[in-house]
């Protein structure tokens, strides 16, 4: 199963083994990872599962939809060109090794 590396703001990294058919947010919350809040439970309404995707991986993700783009304007931490909502990134085998950085805060 694909694994994802989350890098916390303090530099500490955490590797999470994912299961099939879940989003990056779901993998994170299932592992009790601090730094992903996901208040709306993955319904693309709250922008509290914000991540910065490692640049080398960015182009390999499916393009974001308009609602995600709009929500990213309201993130608590600064929006950057590599900002995504982790609930909108479905994990596929090609994403094995994906690296994402966690923002300073989600609310």
């Amino acid at each position: 199963m694909p694994a994802i590396t989350f890098i916390h703001p303090d530099g500490k990294s955490e590797r999470v083994e994912t299961s099939g058919g879940e989003s990056v947010m779901q993998a994170a919350t299932r592992h009790g990872l601090d730094g992903i809040l996901a208040e709306c439970g993955g319904n693309a309404m709250c922008a509290t599962c914000h991540v910065y995707v490692d640049e080398s991986w960015l182009a390999r993700l499916a393009a974001m939809a308009g609602d995600e783009d709009a929500l990213l304007d309201g993130t608590a931490a600064e929006r950057r060109p590599n900002s995504r909502l982790s609930c909108q990134i479905d994990i596929t085998p090609e994403l094995d090794g994906l690296v994402v950085r966690l923002p300073e805060r989600q609310v």
């Binding site: 809040l37 319904n43 309404m45 709250c46 922008a47 929500l71 609310v107």
Partner: protein, 406 residues
């Protein structure tokens, strides 16, 4: 748990029939034993009292919420089937609608109540919470429902909407009618609708563009008509959605949080030790108390749900509150734990109809609990809490408390 379009040859009689009336006063007084009975009876049950299917386990509630094509909202999210009965008011363009019609109206309200807008109103909402605590510290002993859970949202939400000062006393009674009307034709519903005319007249009037102050949520909705996102006749009905669902729900949410924190002093102390827990303390109260207890859907086709076959045109009652305490999903579901990972609870629903005002609710809850915990050492319940009965909403009518300043 499965949702399938090709029903297996299951015997409809295999769905357990229960005599539970989830809209009865004795049920409202203590729903928890009945919730357990509903969950344990099976993944899908049938309630003979109102001839509806019911789901009370997390997995099935979540599945129904997330399959709006099979379990539709346009035939009403109460017991009344709009295909067979005339709705008591013109249907909501968002709550009682399905895609694609719903997609358009939903986008408008999502925009008006977006995370970006929350950033703009946050300081104002926080300042009002501090002012409320000032007033409570003067009183020391007060009713935590009237003087806190109602007074705070009333001090900010109608202004945020842009409502005129006159007539606001209709707001909570109107919401109470709306949420009673989702229930069956029992006394609560009949009486609520019978007395609703003045409240309906007030709300219809306030939804008009001329009555909404510039810059407020209401004016922003009307401005979307200028953009062509909705029509000018749709705008007032979308404003009505905020008037229906934006106030009484947060009153009950904040009331639930205060009631939890007053009952569980260890959790109050944890919050006082770490104010960053305020937002989750509110969220956990929404899971624990589930201010919105139930909603219905209507099947658009025959469907198999977790082994039960449900025919077309059947009402399915989702017990959100029971799902939020399903031991299959939650560890120690009956304890209020402000550090719990609450993500995934269905207190705000789930899927395309998940509460569009959830960010406003969380903002109100967070800033109010932060202000309380920073300045109050202790909240003591000093009298018997009184319950307020409603077919959909769970909350208190009064909660006498005495506070000790920090």
């Amino acid at each position: 748990m499965t949702v399938s379009g090709t029903p297996a040859s299951t015997d409809p009689a295999s769905v357990p029939h229960l005599d539970v009336d989830p809209f009865d006063m004795t049920f409202f007084a203590d729903p928890y034993p009945a919730h357990q009975r509903l969950r344990e009876a099976g993944p899908v049950v049938y309630l003979d009292k109102w001839n509806v299917y019911g789901v009370a386990r997390y997995a099935e509630v979540h599945a129904v919420l997330n399959d709006p094509v099979t379990f539709c909202s346009s035939r009403g999210v109460g017991l009344s089937d709009f295909k067979k009965e005339t709705p008591w008011r013109p249907p909501s363009l968002i709550l009682e609608a399905d895609p694609p019609a719903h997609t358009r109206t939903r986008a408008v309200l999502s925009k008006v109540l977006s995370p970006t807008v929350m950033k703009q109103i946050r300081d104002r909402f926080a300042a009002a919470a501090e002012e409320r605590v000032d007033a409570l510290l003067e009183k020391r002993s007060f009713d935590a429902i009237t003087d806190l859970a109602e007074a705070y949202p009333l001090s900010i939400f109608p202004d945020a909407l842009g409502l005129k000062p006159e007539g606001r006393e209709h707001l909570i009674p109107y919401a109470s009618v709306v949420f009673n009307a989702f229930g069956p034709p029992n006394e609560l519903r009949q009486q609520a609708i019978a007395r609703s005319a003045p409240h309906q007249a007030y709300v219809a009037e306030q939804c008009q563009r001329d009555n909404l102050a510039p810059g407020g949520f209401g004016a922003c909705i009307h401005a979307q008509a200028d953009e062509g996102a909705i029509t000018a006749t749709e705008a007032p009905l979308l404003v009505r959605s905020l008037l229906s669902a934006g106030l009484d729900t947060t009153v009950n949410g904040i009331g639930a949080a205060v009631y939890c924190l007053a009952r569980f002093p260890d959790q109050w102390q944890r919050l006082r030790d770490d104010l960053t827990l305020a937002r989750n303390a509110f969220e956990e109260a929404v899971r624990f108390e589930s201010p919105v207890q139930t909603f219905f859907r209507t099947t658009t086709r025959e469907v198999e749900l977790s082994g039960a076959t449900i025919g077309e045109g059947e009402k399915v009652l989702m017990f959100l509150a029971a799902a939020n305490r399903d031991p299959r999903r939650w560890d120690q579901p009956d304890s209020y734990d402000i550090t719990r990972r609450t993500s995934g609870h269905v207190g705000f629903g789930s899927g395309i109809h998940m509460c569009v005002g959830q960010l406003v609710a969380r903002l109100e809850g967070e800033v109010m609990l932060t202000a309380l915990a920073r300045r109050i050492a202790k909240i003591e319940i000093t009298g018997e809490p009184k319950r307020r009965f409603n077919n959909t909403l769970r909350g208190l009518d009064s909660l006498p408390v005495t506070i000790t300043p920090a």
